[in-house]
């Protein structure tokens, strides 16, 4: 109690001190001559709805809650990156890789002349160090992100020479290169400098951030010069290794600024006034349009016309929780009745202003996946996945033993068919339309998007939910099908991104065969078709529509943004990868 008496004044003193120090440090950080606006690239970082950037003080990608989308993605570079729009696999720190015949071992050849920002050489030792660190941690402390995954995948890492590395895998895996060595979406690892990290005892608690010391040390063309809760500033390193190594010329972007702007309205005002060059992902096409209308210099990936963005991999679905006990959706007839209650045309009209395409598969509409989509159109017809028919829906419900109650909702033994339809706020547009369509078809669908929805449906506490395919396939369908395997069916109470919680032994068998085939093998399409026959027959989930990454780009200071005509990279500076941001920041051309 005594301590409390002394406390309040101390709080005040601290508050006052903070005000002054904030002013003073801000003054000190103001540098002699910052690059002009026309050489500065400003984008909106990730903040999860708060006016502060997410984790700007943690440069350790493997630590707790780290987020590399707010500037650190320009410090680190990947071995390879992947442009999912074209399917192009782009070598960066590595030159190439080579599998052995049975896909149990892969050799990686590092590019010559790569240097860390502190001048040390980047070589196979660094990559091996990172992998070994994760493997060892995955077997012991398990407090580093990706460590358990790495320990499960890799048997042994051997440094063959300074620039050659051999990774022996625990099982044949033709896709390993895409799981850890290629950075795209949220996949791929980040490499840490061995000469610094080897002396760190508590690697999980290490933040790797000390601007005085030049930390974080990376290989990228930019270095962090300031971080604060609301912005991160990176300046170009004129001694970047890529110039001397003849890899790429020095980028024109001299300064990169990531700022926090929590809502669409603020993003809109900032880009209309040319204060930023790229917005965060915006809610609707009509919003992007009204932003473009206010500034002729603004554009999007698809130009100044719909869909105002590029195709994302997380196509949206209505999911059933197949493990929910006593759920009315345990009955396949009820699930099929839901399938026929969905009117995708109306959904796209209301939720996406008409600028989207219906989806009848769990796959995004990427070019490389088209053969798989085409291969299953007859299945879509066979199971009527694209049929919107309330009479058919009602017929199935009656067959399943349901009757309409006094409020016109289907009920059996006093229990209604439905429950809270959980989703995250970004699905609110889709969710309200779907909930209303289902209500009209007699389902007890209550649109629900609370701060707890994220947890509820991922741990399996919801009977149905709307979500995107997190981690779906890009170059073939294995990553998507993996979500429906017994191995990935998490029990209720365990957090999982594979929210169907459905599996089928027959489906597993087919998938095992597909896992052993290399990418592009002609046998994959018929196998996929076999798996999907089960999937559609069981009406596992209801695919809804494609996902587009809606974003406004500003051509006042920078041109050569990726576009439909020149899709050299996804136009995303704040995505969860080190590859795309670098591709983009290296390719932009200054107007002046």
């Amino acid at each position: 109690m005594k301590a409390y008496q002394g406390k309040p004044p101390a709080v005040y003193v601290l508050a006052l001190l903070a005000i002054f120090t904030a002013c003073l440090t801000a003054e000190a950080a103001a540098q002699a001559a910052p690059p002009p606006r026309e050489r500065t690239l400003v984008f909106v970082g990730r903040s999860d709805g708060s006016p502060t950037l997410s984790a700007p003080n943690n440069a350790n990608w493997y630590g707790f809650g780290a987020d590399i989308r707010n500037g650190f993605q320009f410090v680190y570079e990947p071995l390879f990156t992947l442009n999912h729009l074209t399917g192009e696999h782009i070598p960066w720190l590595a030159e190439r890789y080579k599998y052995n015949d049975d896909f149990t071992s892969v050799q990686v050849f590092i590019r010559k002349g790569v240097k860390w920002s502190d001048g040390a050489d980047f070589d196979a030792e660094d990559v091996a160090f990172t992998l070994n660190m994760l493997m060892e941690n995955g077997r012991t402390r398990r407090d580093l992100a990706k460590s358990v995954e790495t320990a499960a995948l890799i048997k042994l890492v051997t440094v063959e020479d300074k620039l050659t590395l051999r990774i022996d895998l625990n099982a044949p895996d033709p896709r390993y290169i895409y799981r850890q060595l290629t950075n795209y979406f949220g996949l791929g690892l980040q490499w840490v400098p061995r000469h610094i990290w080897k002396d760190v005892a508590d690697k999980a608690g290490f933040t790797f951030l000390d601007i005085e010391k030049g930390w974080p040390v990376g290989t990228g063309a930019w270095k962090v010069v300031k971080t604060s809760p609301t912005e991160m500033i990176l300046d170009r390193r004129n001694d970047w290794w890529g110039v001397a190594a003849g890899f790429r010329p020095l980028p024109a972007v001299e300064r990169i600024v990531a700022i926090a702007a929590p809502d669409d309205e603020r993003n809109a005002q900032l880009i209309i006034n040319n204060q930023i060059d790229q917005t965060q992902t915006l809610a609707t096409p009509s919003l992007v349009k009204s932003i473009l209308d206010r500034n002729p210099k603004l554009t999007t990936f698809s130009g100044r016309k719909p869909p105002y963005g590029y195709l994302d991999y997380s196509s949206h679905s209505l999911y059933f929780n197949h493990m929910a006990e006593g759920s009315p959706f345990q009955d396949v007839r009820v699930r099929r009745a839901v399938v026929h209650a969905i009117n995708r045309k109306q959904l796209i009209e209301f939720a996406w202003d008409g600028a989207n395409t219906p989806n009848y598969t769990p796959l995004p509409a990427f070019e490389k996946l088209q053969p798989y989509v085409d291969g299953t159109t007859d299945l879509v017809k066979k199971y009527g996945v694209d049929v919107f028919d309330l009479a058919l829906s009602a017929k199935l419900m009656t067959e399943a033993g349901y009757k309409k109650d006094s409020e016109g909702l289907w009920a059996k033994d006093g229990k209604r068919a439905g429950g809270p339809l959980e989703m995250q706020p970004q699905y609110a547009g889709v969710g309200q339309v779907i909930a209303q369509q289902l209500k009209r078809a007699g389902f007890d669908a209550r649109f629900t998007s609370t701060p707890d929805s994220f947890r509820k449906f991922r741990v399996g506490q919801s009977v149905w939910h709307i979500f995107g395919h997190n981690g779906g396939g890009v170059f073939d369908t294995n990553d998507t099908l993996r979500m429906y395997t017994t191995k990935n069916k998490a029990p209720i109470g365990t957090m999982s991104f594979f929210v169907s919680r459905w599996s089928n032994p027959e489906f597993d068998t087919i998938f095992e065969k597909m896992e052993r085939l290399p990418i592009g093998d002609p046998a994959l399409v018929p196998l996929y078709k076999g798996a999907m026959d089960i999937w559609y027959r069981e009406a596992v989930e209801v695919p809804l529509e494609q996902a587009y990454h809606l974003q406004a780009l500003n051509e006042t200071y920078w041109t050569n943004w990726p576009s439909e005509q020149n899709p050299y990279a996804p136009a995303c500076l704040n995505c969860f990868v080190s590859g795309w941001g670098a591709l983009l920041a290296h390719s932009l051309k200054p107007v002046k």
């Binding site: 809502d263 669409d264 309205e265 809109a268 005002q269 809610a283 609707t284 009509s286 919003l287 009204s290 932003i291 109306q346 009209e349 209301f350 202003d353 429950g419 809270p420 706020p425 609110a428 547009g429 309200q432 339309v433 909930a435 209303q436 369509q437 209500k439 009209r440 209550r446 649109f447 629900t448 998007s449 609370t450 701060p451 707890d452």
Partner: protein, 308 residues
């Protein structure tokens, strides 16, 4: 007697000045509006809104307040007098349903709040001593609990979707604090009044004094408290709804504001989407405010006499 009660005996209690200032504030308003029949204007405003909420049901099919009932984002027109929103709700139907729902939340939590508050206030004010000390302490402690925290905690533990009724109950869980303070101070003053003393000397029991002597005199005051509590409950429900934490399947006025903000309605030029609920709420709060002022005049005879 200065209008501050010598209540400082409970040190945790707010200082005398603040207890009095709310009623002083309203009293001054009363004085100011002496020539303005504030109660009448207030009742008139509330009457108009009630007419819309009740009579509107005859004019428009209230199921049009559901999504997909109309084309998306239409400006006001003959078919849709207040326009439509992005999900295809007819905003006129939303106005009719939403006004009622918002009032419902206010009324439920207002009544519950005043009821609990009256009991606590009476116990604290009449029985005094450690009853007063404990109750005042509890009120003070709970004044430092942000409603947001309570809402999130309770709604996270809800098995089902939030409705206007659960919303009202959640708000009621904090709505007793102000009435308890106000009524306690009023009881403190009343306890010392001559007629109460007379009754006590005549051997009337505590309950008799409370229900037969004090209550009847407090009724106008309780009415004013009720209006005030209802208004405060509506204010916090609309606030929480505007943050997106309200009943998402019911078109209350606050949820309408939330959706309009969520879809940057103003930026996209959909002014009618934001302005409809905003104007109705402004009229609603204004009406309630004027009624409180009017009722306060009734409740405080001293004011009437001394009002110049």
């Amino acid at each position: 007697m200065p209008d501050h009660s010598p209540s400082s005996s409970t040190l945790g209690a707010p200082p005398a000045g603040t207890w009095g200032s709310a009623s002083r504030q309203r009293r001054t308003i009363t004085l100011y509006l002496r020539r303005n029949p504030s109660l009448l204007i207030g009742l008139f405003l509330l009457g108009v809104l009630a007419a819309i909420a009740i009579g509107g049901r005859l004019v428009v099919d209230i199921s049009m307040a559901d999504p997909l009932s109309a084309p998306a984002v239409r400006a006001p027109s003959w078919d849709y007098p207040l326009g439509t929103d992005k999900q295809g709700r007819n905003l006129f139907a939303v106005l009719v349903v939403g006004t009622w729902l918002t009032c419902k939340v206010g009324l439920i939590s207002g009544v519950l709040g005043v009821l609990t508050g009256t009991i606590l206030g009476f116990v604290a004010g009449y029985f005094g001593r450690w009853w007063d000390a404990v109750i005042s302490l509890v009120v003070d402690v709970f004044l430092a609990v942000p409603p947001l925290l309570i809402l999130i905690v309770i709604s996270a533990n809800l098995e089902t979707t939030m409705t206007t009724t659960t919303m009202a109950l959640i708000i009621a869980s904090l709505a007793w604090r102000e009435p308890a303070r106000r009524i306690r101070s009023q009881v403190l003053i009343m306890r010392e009044m001559a007629y109460v003393n007379t009754a006590r000397l005549n051997g009337t029991g505590s309950l008799g004094i409370i229900f037969r002597e004090m209550m009847p005199n407090l009724i106008p005051y309780l009415m004013a408290s009720l209006v005030l509590a209802t208004s405060a409950a509506m204010l916090s429900s609309v606030g929480l709804e505007a943050l997106g934490l309200g009943p998402q399947n019911e078109p209350t006025l606050g949820m309408t504001i939330y959706w309009a903000m969520h879809y940057s309605a103003l930026l996209q030029g959909y002014w009618w989407w934001m302005m409809t609920p905003l104007l109705v709420l402004i009229l609603l709060f204004l009406g309630l405010y004027l009624v409180t002022v009017g009722l306060d005049e009734l409740a405080n005879p001293r004011l009437k006499r001394g009002g110049v």
